[in-house]
Amino acid sequence: MKRRLQALSVLLLLGLVKLPVEQTATATLREARLLTAMPDFGLRDQLGQMSFAAALGGLRSLVASFTYLRAYNAWENVNWAMVDSLFQITTRLQPRYEHYWDEAAWHMAYNAASYYLNDETLNPAVRGKLFHEHIRRGHDILQEGLRVLPEDPRLWNSLAELYERRTYEPARAAECYLKVAEFTGNARFLRFAGYQFAQSADRAFWQRGYDLLRAAYDKNQRPPTLINTLKDLEKKLEVPAERRIPESYVPVPSGAAVPG
């Protein structure tokens, strides 16, 4: 009996000692991005889903793979609601895997949206509504993903493309391309941002686009689109003639070529 009491007290003591150790270890591993703090996705999924995901332990990734395969199946059967809900589970299970967010959004904003737009059996008003709703859904998925992975260039790029090609919001697309450039360090995306700013309706954005493209030009990045856009912006912004780029095509000095 005495030994049992000793055992119990050691167990409780261990319990108290381990709490700060567990906190520290969890913090360290979260910082190393090896553990994921359960992201707060809003009131819908609270403790229930969180503890479900926790209980799966290290099998989350495997289960996510299975739900992903099922989503793939649902896509083949053109069951968009199913695709959406299965991807929702998949992304909850493994929120740090960018590919799931990206593909989920792509299915909604492109595949599902276009499917409804082209569905002859629906009346045009419904088709338009469903088209926009699914683009919106894709947009929301990317936003959610970016809350978990705020520095993920792939998701920023997808969001930029969605603004550019689906909702036609060039200024927003430009901001997203700037993020991509920031997180990849690839100058090409600065130019993409510049093109999008150039297409917006606001003079202030034109100026930002001009600055970006001019800077690229000065670094000898001179593909034809850049030159054309830059000339266009010079006109719109009424840049004084002496500061404009030369009218004729300027060959790029050899050795400084950057494709794109």
Binding site: V21, A54, Y97
Partner: protein, 294 residues
């Protein structure tokens, strides 16, 4: 007659290797073969998926099997050890030799850990080989399909595929799986020191393992949920957080599969936590076992 020593690593080793043989002769190797078949199947199934997903699925299935293997052995094998020795009265002959009881316990625990460790190592090797092969094949396929010829383009593809391919982080992921299994084994041994049956040990350990995976949530609720409005809930969560281990600490696998590197700090954090649990449970086991009536 040789002179008696109070602590003898040789005796512990003898007990540990006997435990390993005991478990091995329970045909545990079959499981390893099944694992290899599964890995190969997962490596080449679902060719419709994109290459990144194919590699991920291969890793998911392999790590899933690794974890199931290690946890099942940790719970079931450990739960069997003490009751079986007691039932067969082999415990009488062992403990009537000059073998301190804590050495007996350490030997048993070490035996289970050796078996899990060796099993995981073999599975890691098999899985690494398949993953490496699959990665190379997929890369060749993509390069051919995209007709990538410039060294830069090839390097870029290599980087994309490589992120899902074989890397050191994966082996450290296996280490995390091992630590979790080790903690669970120590827990099962501790429970079997006072349990009345194997089934009881298995069921209780299994419950603690389930709760242990959510211990992080419970602990954070208790440490941070500042309101004193629900004292009962608070007390309950405190109690659960104290008596169960945080097994979630070792659940780095899904991020490791995703290509995150395991740094030295992370490896130390996991190992340190695991060793704390192991020591604690070993001490409690000893206290429960040292005067146990056989």
């Amino acid at each position: 007659m040789t002179s008696y020593r109070a602590f003898s690593p040789a005796r512990i080793w003898t007990l540990a290797t006997a435990t390993v043989t005991q478990l091995l002769r329970m045909k545990i190797l079959i499981f390893l073969l099944a694992f290899c078949a599964l890995v190969v199947a997962a490596g080449f199934a679902f060719p419709v998926l994109n290459p990144e997903q194919q590699l991920k699925l291969l890793k998911d299935v392999s790590f899933g099997a690794l974890q199931v293997f290690s946890l099942v052995i940790a719970i079931v094998a450990t739960a069997l050890l003490l009751p079986r020795d007691l039932e067969d009265r082999t415990l009488y002959t062992i403990l009537s030799k000059p073998v301190p009881r804590h050495e007996y316990l350490l030997g048993k625990l070490l035996g289970v850990l050796l078996l899990i460790g060796a099993g995981l190592l073999l599975m890691d090797l098999a899985f690494s080989a398949v993953l490496w092969l699959r990665e190379k094949l997929l890369l060749a396929q993509i390069i051919q399909a995209l007709e990538a010829k410039t060294p830069e383009a090839v390097a870029q593809l290599q980087e994309i595929v490589g992120k899902q391919g074989l890397n050191w982080g994966l082996h450290l992921g296996v280490l995390a799986v091992f630590w979790k299994a080790a903690v669970v084994a120590a827990l099962a041994l501790m429970i079997s020191c006072f349990a009345s049956s194997t089934l009881f040990t298995v069921v209780v350990t299994f419950c603690v393992v389930i709760i242990g995976h959510g211990q992080g949530l419970i602990r954070e609720y208790f440490l941070q949920g500042g309101t004193l409005a629900e004292p009962v809930k608070k007390l309950l969560s405190a109690l659960l957080a104290i008596v169960t281990p945080d097994l979630g600490v070792f659940d780095v696998v899904d991020n490791v599969i995703n290509g995150e590197a395991v740094g030295l700090g992370a490896a130390l954090a996991m190992s340190g936590t695991a060793l704390l649990y192991l020591t604690g449970y070993a001490v409690v086991s000893h206290l429960l076992f040292v005067e146990k009536e056989l």
